[in-house]
């Protein structure tokens, strides 16, 4: 059985990637399971989707703990522990990263036991939540890496899954998928199936199983105010709003009122401050600031600047 995980951000087409790959497997005569996995998170939040494909009926359910192939559409996720990109990687798992950097850099950086491949990223985009065609490219690359999906089977799967879109958009996606397929052709068949396991051998994942308690204790009552601040929604952000305090005219209310997430507070002196732990990067403040005192920079640049100690 093939077990494949796609990691990306909400909006980058990971669900579509898993569906395309699933359909392509199906056309090649496989039993298939594909599903996106996300919780309450939204656009920009780290999500993943997964595909199982086998010649026999698939009895496994749930997330893939031991993947044969992991594909990362957005390299900025690799460093985010909560995204779980590297979870369950072993010496036989292939990791493919859609990146501007090369294989040597990623191999050195990650020091993994298994092979690391890079799908050269197409173009630089400021807002990584809008990587053009990232999902289709990842599906195309995965199709060739498993080695059992023919090129025309991939094309048919893309056309099938995107059928409701305008013809021109479908054609663009087909071209992107086939380009990725051809680009990774040297590694065709690198991903190997792992044996199907019987339910007898099931090992529960290493999470805590909550024990049933008396309802008085286990009822989900929250006894504190505004605990949501413990959730770091700043991880969703792909663009960072930055205030130019020389241009800010201390209007008092515009950015702070329009920010849906209560992420901009104003000091007693009328100076706005952005809470980057929670700002999701919607950029309403950038659009609404009357003197245009708020600009947008790619989040990756802001993180790099923080690492090198340069002022952002």
């Amino acid at each position: 059985m093939y077990r494949i995980r796609f990691h990306g951000r909400g909006g980058q087409g990971m669900k579509t990637a898993s569906r395309i790959l699933g359909s392509a497997f199906f056309r090649a005569g496989y039993e298939v399971q594909d599903a996106p996995r996300y919780g309450a998170e939204r656009r920009g939040a780290p999500i993943f989707a997964y595909v199982r494909a086998a010649r026999e009926p698939i009895n496994e359910r749930g997330v893939i703990a031991e993947p044969d192939l992991v594909i990362v559409a957005d390299e900025s996720l690799v460093g985010i522990a909560a995204a779980g990109v590297c979870q369950g990687l072993s010496e036989r798992s292939v990791l493919l990263i859609n990146s501007h950097e090369d294989v040597a850099t990623w191999t050195h950086r990650l020091n993994l036991a298994g092979p690391v491949l890079v799908l050269p990223a197409r173009e630089a985009v400021a807002d990584r939540a809008e990587l053009p065609f990232a999902g289709t490219a990842c599906a195309g690359a995965a199709a060739v890496l498993v080695g059992v999906i023919p090129r025309d089977g991939l094309e048919a799967a893309v056309r099938e899954e995107l059928g409701s879109l305008p013809q021109q958009v479908i054609d663009q996606n087909v071209a992107v998928a086939l380009h990725a397929y051809d680009e990774m052709r040297d590694h065709a068949g690198l991903v190997r199936e792992a044996p199907t396991r019987s339910a007898k051998d099931y090992e529960p994942p290493a999470w805590l199983e909550p024990v049933f308690e008396d309802a008085r204790h286990s009822a989900p009552a929250i006894h504190a105010a505004a605990t949501s601040v413990q959730v770091r929604t700043g991880l969703w952000r792909t663009l960072r709003p930055v205030i130019d305090y020389d241009r800010c005219n201390k209007c008092w209310w515009v950015c702070s009122t329009f920010c849906p997430d209560s992420c901009i507070s104003v000091t007693d002196d009328g100076v706005p401050e952005i809470d980057y732990d929670h700002c999701k990067g919607c950029m309403i403040c950038v659009a609404k600031c009357p003197p245009h005192a708020i600009g947008a920079i790619p989040e990756t640049d802001a993180r790099d600047a923080a690492l090198t100690g340069e002022p952002s």
Binding site: A40, A225, V231, T233, P260, S262, M283, V286
Partner: protein
């Protein structure tokens, strides 16, 4: 009734009560309205929340609220509010809760519950004169599950269940409420924060059934870049598509009526759900129809 003390933008609060870190989408127009509303409602409140996008606000063990929150099924938030209100009243009457610790009973639902599934429970609650504030964030579809059409979806808008454009017409929830002769009904939008704050303040100063109906531009469901949430909201007002108004004492008064309405095209064009209206050979006639309906509404107001 207390007149609003909010005279100008600078009277709006500069720090906000609603906690950050909610799972709402980036640029959520409903959350934009709710955080402005919550500053006026305050922490001494019980939010009774029907299933919808904002169910996710309080995902255990996290909540952005500083007061209480209770979750109900989609159709039954007003019934839940009745129970909460009754319990508070009994506690106060029996001396077990000091009157100054009373809490405002607030229902929070999306348009799926407010315009559709929950309408029967709402009608009953208004009829019984329940003392509650109903907040509806109207994102014109079942946005939490992928923007299926609801009874609040406007004519011609694409949703995941109406890919050729919604054939029905948006229900007039303001009119449905007003026909019950409740204490107060108002439409608001996060993009007009002063108008919103005044209305919520007025609603909070009154007793009985009260509705704050907020149009909630939805970047995910309406298909526009999240940075334009406030701009889309402002255009909804300036084109006359979303009339800001209030019903109080049997009268409907329009607040911020646009002096010169912009063409509806300017509002529609920003949103992917109307893209099919602008395609060559598409349904261009629909734009004229939408414009005509807006014009007819305002002709009726101005007469």
């Amino acid at each position: 009734m207390k007149e609003s003390v909010l005279k100008r933008m600078k009277d709006l609060p500069s720090s906000h009560l609603l906690g950050a870190g909610t799972p709402m989408c980036a640029g959520c127009g409903g959350l934009e309205a709710l955080h402005e509303i919550y500053d006026q409602v305050g922490a001494k409140s019980v939010f009774v929340n029907a299933a919808g996008c904002m169910t996710l606000l309080a995902t255990y063990p996290f909540t952005p609220f500083r007061g209480s929150w209770l979750y109900t099924a989609m159709a039954s938030a007003p019934a839940g509010a009745q129970g909460v209100r009754d319990a508070l009243d009994i506690l106060i009457d029996s001396g077990r809760l000091p009157p100054d610790e009373d809490l405002a009973t607030v229902v929070l639902t999306g348009d799926g519950a407010a315009y559709g599934m929950g309408l029967s429970a709402t009608s009953g609650a208004i009829e019984r004169g329940l003392d509650f504030l109903y907040i509806c964030y109207d994102n014109e579809g079942y946005a939490n599950t992928g923007q299926q059409a609801s009874a609040a979806t406007p004519h011609g808008a694409q949703t995941s269940t109406t890919t050729l454009g919604y054939a029905g017409y948006k229900k007039d929830l303001f009119g449905i409420w007003a026909a019950h002769r409740p204490t107060y009904v108002a439409t608001v939008i996060g993009a007009e924060p002063l108008d919103l704050a005044r209305k919520v303040q007025k609603a909070m100063s009154l007793a009985g059934p009260r509705l704050i109906l907020a149009l909630a531009p939805c970047p995910t469901g309406w298909d526009f870049d999240p940075q334009y949430t406030a701009d889309v909201g402002r255009l909804a007002v300036q084109t006359g598509i979303w009339p800001l108004k209030e019903y109080v004492g049997g009268e409907v008064v329009h607040t911020k009526a646009p002096k010169q309405r912009l063409p509806v095209e300017e509002y529609l064009r920003l949103q992917g759900r109307y893209a099919h209206l602008f395609e060559a050979g598409g349904q261009a006639g629909l734009i004229d129809e939408i414009q005509a309906r807006v014009d007819a509404y305002w002709d009726g107001v101005e007469r």
